[in-house]
């Protein structure tokens, strides 16, 4: 049974009271993906005169009857439907506390649902696995919980083809990627462009889970390989150095991309808040 963090209601409540449109400057608002695109929603964006390149079907005939001139009505796209949760379910996630992992994702999904976002859940390992689309309203949180409970952590990670497939298939405006990024091609994965992405990195250092110095046999469940090494001061230093390079690469600043790193012992609430702040920034 996955519990949702108690603070989520409070956080969602606080953000719900924000009048996003009024508080944001015009320029920022126009760039906000939620309100930017022209589409098929019922929110009227603009009424303008018919131009030769316009579709005849878009002509508002009532206005033509009243004014005897051709007018076109434009509406906003219903973009808040595109909050895509990409959830890594490869075997390497098992180093991290999977309960915490599931709980974090469920809590974040709950907050978004409370804020009337539509979310889609997609799990992947080396390819896309399960998909659950169009979850709306907080009352449907059970779909999220059921999806997360059914996650089995197996198989290797292959981020690049997964991200490319997601981009081609759904072209989501906002992607939340939950992964440990333990993939040899993680550098290439960072280059796959999304309009807006949030990378939530669940990281476990080897020194956190190793029982101590001595001979260490490490099994990689993804590659099904064993490695015996002397885990001593020298090798621990080398591994730490490598981990730092890995983390620095992931945390490097990229356009339209936000990076958050979670460890097993870290407090989760600030991350919810920070993600919402960045989303509305």
């Amino acid at each position: 049974m996955i519990d949702i963090d108690r603070e989520c209601d409070t956080i969602a409540g606080l953000f719900a009271r924000r009048s996003v449109k009024s508080k944001l400057p015009v320029r920022t608002r126009s760039e906000n993906p939620i309100f930017r695109r022209k589409g098929q929603s019922f929110n009227l964006k603009n009424v303008r005169e018919y131009q030769p390149f316009d579709d005849l079907r878009q002509i508002d005939w009532k206005l033509y009857g009243r004014t005897d001139r051709y007018y076109i009505k434009e509406f906003y796209e219903e973009e808040n439907a595109g909050m895509l949760f990409l959830i890594d379910r490869s075997a390497s996630l098992s180093f991290f506390d999977t309960d915490t992992y599931r709980r974090f994702i469920a809590s974040l999904a709950y907050i978004f649902l409370k804020l009337h976002f539509t979310i889609h859940l997609v799990s992947f390992s080396q390819r896309l696995e399960e998909v659950s689309r169009n979850i709306k309203e907080a009352k449907n949180i059970h779909r999220v919980l059921s999806f997360l409970e059914n996650l089995t952590f197996t198989g290797p990670t292959d981020l690049v083809p997964v991200l490319k497939t997601v981009r081609q298939r759904w072209g989501p405006s906002t992607v939340l990627l939950f992964s440990d990024f333990f993939d040899r091609g993680y550098r290439s994965a960072l280059k796959v462009p999304f309009r807006r992405s949030f990378m939530i990195h669940f990281f476990t250092s080897l020194s956190e889970i190793s029982p101590g110095y001595g001979e260490l046999e490490i099994l990689d469940e993804e590659q099904k390989k064993r490695l015996v090494l002397a885990f001593n001061r020298s090798n621990a230093g080398r591994i730490r150095e490598r981990e730092e390079r890995f983390l620095n690469t992931l945390a490097s600043r990229r356009k339209n991309c936000h990076y958050y790193r979670l460890t097993r012992v870290e407090e989760r609430t600030p991350f919810y808040w920070q993600i919402l702040e960045d989303l509305y920034a």
Partner: protein
């Protein structure tokens, strides 16, 4: 050695226990290898380095145990007090009544109190290798099997020539005293300490005293010494096609009371047998390979049977000069040097001066011995052991005496008697008989045993047969070369301790560097 192994095992036991515990209690966990690619083995060096990194403490502990065991067992450093007893395994040790041979006496002596703690070896001839080597008899002695040991050893090993040089290995192993129990009288002063046991000599034997090739007669002359030999000497030759010896029909044998002369016309592998004893000779003409430069020298090379065309140390060289004016030795010297240089490097060069014009007075103005014909000429005789020359008519003009060329023997063709019929004779040696290659004492190279008899062996080395016969000392009882000196590498105790200390410090440093717990797990 057994002591060393037991000590080492005892010292290594806790190390192996620790290794076992370490392997059993190895920490295992599941984690990705994505960040551990530096530790993957790409080359053999990576694997070795990683293994050393894993087990360096075990390896160093084992080395420390090894050094300590070497030191405690006396194999390293403190073995100088130990004694090795080496029993002579030559043919003469088997002579005598059964059970009373020098070998029996030597083995009994080795069990006496004096040598009770000493290691026992037998210096025996290894028929397969064609040379003497040391065999340890310690295990047999411990098992108390020395009673039947002489018979067993006689069956398994070749009691043959004696060669004490393998005893040097005992000093290299650290023995401070090496006692040789032999039936031969030995001179003192060498590194080996000889103790004489028994002294039996064969009552009847025969032995080759000379094997020559007579170039004039074109046959091999073999002479043997006989003593109380009541059996006829059988001569046979080895036929490759049948793989066996067949009697020689045209062998001329003339036997005296104490000697035997045999004339054999053809080369080949011959066997002379009488009773248990036999000798095998691979007879071949003793031709010396030489190179000729100049027409005269080429003729000489073709005429003389002692020489054959080939790459050797000998050069025959013509040196023409103007007979009427041999007064420019400098010019001749420079010409000669140039030609010698262009001919290549030879240990010996025989140079014949050929007059190109009429007689000169230089011949009469030769060295003092020229008038008498031979004495002063001795200085021109080439120092080859198989010298070809007796330069009866050869002497140099006085003007050429100043040619000082080391390794060069000069001959002079007397222009007064041109064409000189004697000059070729100069090369036709008085030593028409030369010692022929017949057998080897210490054969070298890769050998395979073909035939084995009590006093002779035949090996095959490549395409040729190599005959190995009993040395005369075994029959004559002549004194041997026993003044051999061997240098024992004396390992010093402080060196052992220094090594131990170095390894200990190395291990401590590695432990401090790699395993320091203060470095902790914190990232």
């Amino acid at each position: 050695m057994l002591e060393f192994v037991s000590i080492w095992l005892l010292l290594s036991l806790p190390v192996f226990l620790l290794l076992f515990v370490n392997l059993r209690g190895k920490q295992r966990l599941v984690y990705t290898h994505t960040l551990l690619s530096d530790f993957q083995d790409r080359t053999l060096g990576d694997f070795l380095f990683r293994t050393f990194h894993l087990y360096y403490d075990i390896i160093l502990d084992l080395i420390l145990a090894l050094l300590t065991a070497l030191f405690l067992s006396g194999l390293l450093g403190s073995a100088a007090d130990r004694t090795a007893v080496c029993v002579d395994g030559s043919y003469s040790m088997l002579l005598g009544a059964p059970g009373e041979t020098p070998l029996n006496e030597a083995l009994s002596r080795s069990c006496e109190e004096e040598f009770e703690s000493a290691d026992l070896y037998l210096l025996a001839f290894d028929p397969d290798r064609g040379r003497s080597r040391l065999l340890s008899l310690n295990r047999m002695r411990r098992r108390g099997g020395l009673e039947n040991l002489p018979e067993r050893l006689r069956e398994d090993l070749g009691f043959f020539n004696q060669d004490y040089s393998p005893c040097g290995a005992l000093f290299e192993r650290g023995y401070g005293r090496v006692v040789v129990l032999s039936d031969h009288a030995a001179a003192s002063g060498g590194s080996l300490e000889f103790q004489t046991v028994g002294r039996s000599r064969p009552q009847s034997f025969f032995y080759p005293t000379s094997i020559d090739y007579d170039f004039a007669a074109g046959n091999f002359r073999l002479t043997f010494q006989l003593r109380n030999l009541n059996k006829e000497v059988q001569v046979s030759v080895y036929r490759e096609d049948s793989g066996d010896y067949v009697p020689v029909p045209d062998a001329e044998i003339s036997a005296g009371p104490d000697s035997l002369l045999c004339l054999l016309p053809e080369r080949g592998l011959y066997r002379f047998a009488a009773g248990e004893m036999d000798f095998v000779f691979n007879l071949a003409e003793p031709a010396t390979p030489a190179r000729a430069v100049g027409d005269f020298s080429r003729i000489i090379l073709g005429v003389l049977p002692q020489l054959e065309e080939g790459n050797g140390d000998l050069l025959l060289l013509d040196q023409p000069y103007r007979a009427e004016s041999p007064s420019s030795p400098g010019e001749i010297r420079s010409t000669l040097r140039r030609e010698l240089r262009s001919a290549g490097t030879f240990q010996h060069a025989l140079v014949t001066f050929l007059a190109t014009a009429g007689p000169v007075g230089a011949a009469t103005a030769g060295p003092v011995g020229a008038a008498t014909g031979n004495t002063a000429i001795d200085s021109y005789i080439h120092p080859l052991p198989a010298s070809l020359s007796r330069p009866a008519a050869a002497e140099l003009p006085g003007a050429l005496l100043g040619l000082d060329l080391p390794g060069v023997t000069l001959f002079y063709q007397n222009p007064a008697r041109k064409p000189d019929p004697q000059t070729p004779i100069v090369y036709l040696s008085a030593l028409e008989r030369r010692r022929a290659p017949a057998y080897e004492t210490h054969p070298e190279g890769r050998l395979s045993l073909v035939q084995r008899h009590l006093t002779s062996y035949v090996y095959r080395r490549g395409d040729e047969h190599v005959a190995v016969n009993l040395a005369s000392e075994e029959l004559y009882g002549a004194s041997r070369e026993t003044g051999l000196r061997f240098e024992a590498p004396q390992a010093r105790r402080w060196l052992v301790f220094l090594l131990l200390l170095c390894f200990y410090i190395l291990k401590s440093v590695l432990l401090l560097l790699l395993e320091r717990p203060a470095a902790g797990k914190a990232g």
